[in-house]
Homo-oligomer: 333 residues x 2
Amino acid sequence: MVTISDIASALGVTPSTVSRALAGSPRVKAETRAAVDEMARKMGYERNIMASNLRKGRSDIVGVVVPLINREFFANIIGGAESVLNAAGYNVLICQTKESFESEVKALRTLRNYHVAAIMISHSIESENGDHIREIIGERMPLVQFDRVFPDLPGAKIVGENFEGAYKATKYLIEQGYKRIGTLAGYMTCLLYRERLEGYRKAIEDSGMEYDESIVFHDTIVYDKGRESCLKAIDAGCDALYSAGDFSALGAIDELKLHGIDIPSRFGIIGTANESFTALMTPSLSSLGQHPYEMGQAAARAFLEGRTDTEVIPMELLLRQSSNRNNDIQCQK
Amino acid sequence: MVTISDIASALGVTPSTVSRALAGSPRVKAETRAAVDEMARKMGYERNIMASNLRKGRSDIVGVVVPLINREFFANIIGGAESVLNAAGYNVLICQTKESFESEVKALRTLRNYHVAAIMISHSIESENGDHIREIIGERMPLVQFDRVFPDLPGAKIVGENFEGAYKATKYLIEQGYKRIGTLAGYMTCLLYRERLEGYRKAIEDSGMEYDESIVFHDTIVYDKGRESCLKAIDAGCDALYSAGDFSALGAIDELKLHGIDIPSRFGIIGTANESFTALMTPSLSSLGQHPYEMGQAAARAFLEGRTDTEVIPMELLLRQSSNRNNDIQCQK
DNA sequence: AACAAATATACAAACGTTTGTATTATTCTC
DNA sequence: GAGAATAATACAAACGTTTGTATATTTGTT
């Protein structure tokens, strides 16, 4: 590996001059800089980032911790964050926790050992509070939380418009004439699911219906749970569901198909997250879309600008067949 | 930040002893080691990986370069690689090229500057050969290529069973009684698409059909191209397509629906990659499934074991509705 | 008890940068 | 052309580890 010292001795100058030349410092003469650049190119020099970071006492790595990397939602968040961070000269180290608390602790430790420039995290389902995060990253490391956030932690937060979104989705089901609307509500340890549930509740109550605990299905976010809870919902006389996730909505649809219950004429359903399969299935699944790419960008910008406020990213109700009882919309992709 | 020197002075020993104690070296007395561990824990010490790596002249980061992170196929490869690498004490730095040659060069440079332990790459579509890879990473950096590989580069290669897979898929369409089978063939700059095309060709010729260039559609791997080429295929009298990708197959299906051509009775289609939407759409799309998770694991193991051979991962034909003309299979998920 | 062998720790250099300070070379002013 | 001001470069320490060698301590042998 060729170092700045190699370049320095090749040119008969000192490493410090080479370092400054490569950094474009005005303290080195233009012709010297040119000579250094030329020699660096010729010798195939590439700066050792570790050494550089060590000396500078900082890193150009931003650590991103997500529950699952193969969820489109998170993959797109990472993509958005990456685009902004790369442009600002940062690299992204991705850790996935697979929804495990233990993995999350391990990931945070690793990132801390790298002395990363910042940590961006969406916590795992198993994490009930942010104590471990606070404890591991300390006071000085910039922290940005996105999507799943612990409100009591310091630092910026980028969240979806969960309350309003769930309100809109539920309201829409009501307007379509569905009479008994349940919800697949997700994990109550996560603020965002609590908010969605509140939005659902408000919509129900605002339209004079009764909020009925017996058709609120908790912890329902994966496919199997969706099927299971849908069966209970059918038995409880529901004719619609607002699901706080797309995968549970998918399970519900398969369960409905199994029972020969037509969607959307006899049963309506709206999911959340706008995973790409929602548009492709039959019937296509209406979904409360997030904007993950923008969310990732916002998280990155919050770090770059040193902000510590909470930013709310709008959610958009994407209407497809699964909730189109009155057949009054053109189905979009 | 607390360093080994802090621990050392707190205990009245030298940093070297602390370093050895923490590394579990037999050169330090058991009680000293215990004291050091205790003090490290008490002071909240975490090793500075940058300094460690710099001194040791090596890194515990493995760089993974993929075209797109939000493709399930690649996300699962990353997941597989990560599981093996994490267990071996490595961390994974992910770069996505978005199919751009320029980004690929930049990513490789970055990883080289980090002096990563190894580079695992699936090259972008724009990369026509591996010269830039060879040039940037030099002789000494371990290289593992997966899925999209340049055969002339040194190092391990993990590839799908492309020829056999495409052969199987095409053969199956023939056995279902389709008479004029075209192919959405992908990019001929990629070896894997050339191999799939060869498999298709062999299957066609083996069954006494004529290999017809006019129904081989190149560069067809994204949705829009799939639609476009499918239209041409219809005009050319095709009644089936083997698509080297799932997204192009999806486009084709939408085009067929638009023309009211029933699938699978009047037109059969099989895609490749087993993206999860294939099982969810209607009609569900038969697909030549890869095993990306296993592929990622294999790539990681090839690096860990220092292998430089080529490993072939089987492909599995997943039969669903889109090719089920004779209605002779139970549709699986 | 004296010496060798072993064990345990200390010393110091090194990894490749960056950067504050010191030194030398150049330009300007009168 | 002497002195001041400025520009350009050199020197050296530092970032936090690791590790080869040297030193000090303990143990074992006769």
